[in-house]
């Protein structure tokens, strides 16, 4: 009698605990999924918010969109870089100058095969530090007023000089930078998905542009998508070229004076402005997107617009060229989706699960979690528009 009673009670206990066990398992994994989603979103928000932050001491200060494209819809860097003109909805590279004292100008030109860094000691450089505070391992951004830019890694410092490697495929510098070009400490982040070599799931990773291995941010990411919104209007001139401070344009590099031909564009012109030698004025090279010249609100930028190469900066032959429409980007929309790491908590592939699992009981379903958010980086939206 007692044995029978024990069996009945034990069976009841198992019947009660089995669903509770499922609930507990789903709940614990749900917390983990949520946390991975938060970590991934936080990393993206932190870097996207800073996109375009430029130098803030000395010449060529201000948002980077006055000089180059700080947001690109593809990977840049020494390893795995996409070619110019690529559009990938699942990858993004952002560039910005963090809080740093290392902001100055070149005192010796950089050229192909000539990668020794020498800089001027300008106001704002840290006292009692060599090389304006640049230290080994730092990422550097060098850019000029014509739209040329490259990122480098400082590999060693000896007194007032340092050795650089170029953060581009092959590690070969293909652009020359004259004395006086701006050099600043920078952060480059390329976010993309990478398949785990052994376990087979996708990770959200970022690369710092150097040859260092990428850093994993979150596991089991099954959706990553970026959309771009930008200024529909072409750039305008806001100050004469002789103005020492600027900003000279609403966005994009300022045109050269009529006697200069620094790029493949005709004298006095660059990728964003043409020059009328008879009238003596500059006109935008870019067109109005959407056809409404009075529209001030942002417009969705299509893949074709951002990658068609209709207009290249600094010119079509430059190794570091980029589509001039990338200068329009003002807002980035992000979609991020994360799955359960446990196959047994994922049901058949479909609306709830991008990647199917082995669960067939709804009580054991833990659907993918998805978050969408938009970031309007302050540095892409302030200070340049009139």
């Amino acid at each position: 009698m007692a044995t029978a009673l024990m069996l009945v009670v034990t069976a009841a206990v198992f019947a009660l605990t089995d669903p509770a066990r499922s609930t507990a398992l789903v709940q614990f994994e749900s917390t983990d999924v949520q946390q991975r989603l938060r970590v991934a979103a936080e990393a993206l928000v932190r870097d996207l918010m800073m996109a375009g932050a430029g130098a803030y001491a000395g010449a060529q200060s201000g948002s980077l969109i006055g000089w180059l494209a700080p947001v690109t819809p593809y990977r840049l860097g020494a390893v795995g870089a996409d070619p110019p003109g690529t559009y990938r909805s699942d990858a993004i590279t952002v560039l910005y100058v963090p809080a740093t004292a290392a902001q100055t100008t070149l005192s010796a030109a950089l050229a192909p095969g000539q990668l020794t860094l020498r800089v001027n000691f300008e106001r704002g450089c840290p006292l009692n530090q060599d090389l304006c505070g640049f230290t080994s391992g730092t990422t550097l951004l060098v850019y000029d007023t014509y739209g040329n830019s490259d990122t480098f890694t400082l590999t060693s410092v000896a007194g007032n000089s340092g050795q650089l490697t170029v953060n581009s495929p092959g590690g070969v510098l293909q652009t020359s930078y004259a004395i006086g070009s701006k050099v600043v400490q920078a952060v480059q982040r390329a976010y993309y998905l990478k398949r785990h070599a052994i376990l087979g799931f996708d990770q959200l990773v970022y690369s710092d542009g150097s040859a260092n291995p990428e850093v994993a941010v979150a596991d089991h990411v099954v959706g990553l998508e970026f959309e771009y919104y930008g200024d529909p209007q072409p750039p305008g001139i806001t100050a004469v070229a002789a103005d020492p401070v600027g900003p000279w344009t609403t966005y994009g590099p300022r045109p050269p004076t009529p006697d200069l031909t620094p790029t493949a564009y005709p004298s006095g012109e660059n990728c964003t402005f043409t020059f009328d030698p008879i009238g003596g004025g500059h006109a935008p090279r870019l067109e109005v997107i959407g056809g409404d010249p009075s529209r001030r609100s942002l417009i969705r930028l299509s893949a074709a617009e951002l990658a068609d190469g209709n207009v290249w900066c600094p010119d079509p032959g430059a190794a570091t060229r980029f589509d001039a429409d990338l200068l329009r980007i003002r807002k980035i929309a992000v979609r991020l989706r994360i799955e359960s790491a446990i196959d047994g908590l994922r049901g058949p592939a479909g609306a709830l699960f991008i990647r199917g699992g082995t669960a067939r009981d709804g009580r054991r379903f833990l659907p993918d979690r998805e978050v969408r958010f938009q970031i309007a980086p302050p540095n892409l939206n302030a200070g340049l528009s009139p």
Binding site: A2, L5, M6, V9, T10, A12, V13, L16, T17, A20, R21, T23, A24, Q27, F28, S30, T31, Q34, Q35, R38, E42, R46, M49, M50, A53, G54, A55, Y56, A57, G58, S61, G62, S63, Y96, V97, P98, A99, A101, E122, R123, G124, P126, L127, N128, Q129, G133, A239, V245, P247, P378, N379, A382, G383, P386
Partner: protein, 225 residues
């Protein structure tokens, strides 16, 4: 064989098992709730710090001489009393304004000496041109947003102002005015927010005088002490 009480033992064991499962579940869900709340507070703090900076920049555009901001004689219209003492929010968050300023100036909560202010450190490598932060705007976020806002908890927000790093006049309380001074007409603002459970966010903005008001040169994440 005597079996009296076996059922009781089994019931106790079963209840212990269920209670352990339940307790673990409660712990997991309450932890998740707390993490979510912290995440939300952190993001609110980010936006709050940005909001007070926007307000400060709007006020700054009306001040013709920024040296008055640097020496503390001019403040924003957004203040809640003298620039000292502690402030306590309704949910118990306390902010000591003096400590905030001291932490920004010399990395310690106690008042800074002159030598500490001018010391060359990794964070402040400009010696006598080191920034000397002053309170420019401060108050509760509710006061900035006005009545009827839907925030569940308030935040304390403030803006510190200081001269920029490119100054060359050797006086961090004066915005350089000579034409050869690269820091002329340029100052730095630091917006901070303080929220529930120690949430703390900061942005720094370098601004210059533009033809149409205040121009943002750089908006960046601020380091926290």
């Amino acid at each position: 064989m005597k079996e009296t009480g076996v059922a009781l033992v089994i019931c106790v064991l079963a209840m212990t098992l269920l209670m352990a499962l339940g307790a673990a579940l409660v712990l997991a869900t309450s932890t998740e709730t707390l993490i979510a709340a912290n995440f939300r507070t952190a993001h609110e703090g980010r936006y709050a710090a940005a909001a007070v900076l926007e307000r400060a920049m709007a006020d700054l555009s009306t001040i013709p001489d920024w040296s008055r901001v640097l020496d503390g004689s001019a403040t924003s219209g957004f203040t809640d009393g003298p620039p000292s003492g502690s402030r306590t929010l309704a949910d118990g968050v306390t902010v000591d304004l003096g400590e905030v300023v001291n932490l920004a100036n010399c990395g310690r909560p106690a008042p800074c000496t002159e030598s500490q202010l001018d010391a060359i450190t990794v964070e402040r490598p400009w010696g006598i041109n080191n920034p000397r932060w002053r309170l420019y705007a401060y108050g509760e976020l509710d006061a900035l947003l006005g009545p009827g806002n839907s925030l569940p908890r308030s935040q304390y927000i403030l803006v510190l102002a200081a001269d920029d790093q490119a100054e060359s006049d050797g006086n961090p309380l004066v915005d350089g005015s000579n034409p050869g001074n690269p820091g002329s007409g340029v100052i730095v603002l630091r917006g901070e927010s303080f929220g529930a459970r120690g949430a703390h966010r900061a942005y720094e903005v370098t601004v210059s005088r533009g033809s149409s008001g205040v121009r943002i040169l750089s908006w960046r994440n601020g380091s926290l002490p």
